[in-house]
Subunit: 282 residues, 2 copies
Amino acid sequence: MQRVCVIGLGLMGGSLGLVLRQRGLAAHVVGCGRQALLSRAVEMGAIDSGYTDAGQAVAESDFVFLCTPVETSIRLMREIAPRLKPGALVTDVGSTKAAFAEAAREVFGATANDRVLPGHPLAGRELSGLEHASADLYEGCVWVLTPLAESATAAHEQLRATIEALGARVVYATPEEHDRTLAYTSHLPQMLSTALALTLEDEFGAANPALEIHAGGLRTMLRLASSDPVMWEQIAASNPQNIVAALERFEGELRKLRESFGDPEFRRRFETAREFAKRLRG
Amino acid sequence: MQRVCVIGLGLMGGSLGLVLRQRGLAAHVVGCGRQALLSRAVEMGAIDSGYTDAGQAVAESDFVFLCTPVETSIRLMREIAPRLKPGALVTDVGSTKAAFAEAAREVFGATANDRVLPGHPLAGRELSGLEHASADLYEGCVWVLTPLAESATAAHEQLRATIEALGARVVYATPEEHDRTLAYTSHLPQMLSTALALTLEDEFGAANPALEIHAGGLRTMLRLASSDPVMWEQIAASNPQNIVAALERFEGELRKLRESFGDPEFRRRFETAREFAKRLRG
């Protein structure tokens, strides 16, 4: 890639800058973020130069990666649209895609597919921030691309090739398929971990010694509960119907499981769940 | 310890035999299980000798560890009671304690506290079976002891010292406290993982390519779903009221979280959950 702009220098953006520069995948990486972040990102080698203003940052870039929470990315896309270079391609790393895709169509109209290719690398962590950025964050992850139309441009192909060069595996889906699937495979698990933490906090409080009595399974199930509240607020706000549908399905399964205590059905449910988990975990 | 009998040669019993023998913590370890298991356990060095009959296995032992699912352990305790050596102490590793403690009081009456000290090492894995046994399974784990009365006998103290010599940390609780706490810190997380697997299986089926689109968080949340159905059937059957209470509390928290989408309360809940998870995970 020629000149790449990374807007948002947290875990995702910082890691992207690091790997693009370390592997020589971009001629120049321009960052955009608060001044203190820009300085740290330059020191770490995540960007070559930086701007605090998004319009200035994108002005000469050929590819723009929006690496902020989904609602922030939508706002920034509107803001940078008039400043983009002709032929520049915008992508993002947001956790939901339909709202971003819809905004792209509004902003760019008939040229939306030429200007925007929404994306989502499934490489998040419960840790966030530039200090956790790493050049191998995307190694081996699935990176979903959700094109706005069927025709791929040369810039689309270049973006796909670059993502593969980061070590990620590209999977295509429509924005709607993406959001419906992620509601089950990402947003639902997150809500369960958070609600589990809230249940334990409510039942025991933070300092209760009863909490000594737990094993590794609890720690595992609470890992996601450490995720960033602001990011999740925006995910929930941008995909509420799918998440609520997934939660209701889950609540039904949990109720059926609870009602099968002492019944042969209980063991059958556990066996089905075990088979599924084994297949998924490989 | 002098002569120790380990009944049930799965993950827990096999690991116990291995570490007792490797660290020279018992003069002789007698195993009890199916013939094929006994041969494998002798080969692995988990036991010195073995019997398929529990009554024969315990006849000359000073300490008896029941390492089977909780209902099986209750049945075996009744079966071996008449065959125990005078002064022998029985313990177990079952996941719930009140039902086992109640059975001990029924079987042994006024001498129950002298003959039985129920226990629960919080060292399970989603893997089970002798083939996964390891001498370091108990290293660093919490091992809950739930005495039937306040007075500790010399055999109780010897059991405690041996458990500490395995690398575990002993925590005392009443059987009822144990079961109520574990309903939240172990049984609830298990039900969530299992119900999550069932929801995904129901929504996508096993082979649906949509399942490609998932990240590490889902795999984490499905780890427990691989647990042994038979063990969990017995846990659910022996602690239903506490588990149902924990599930209902959880269902309430999940509903409140779902109803707070788009409200400032949502972020506050996420922040509370994150703080709790951080404190627990240290």
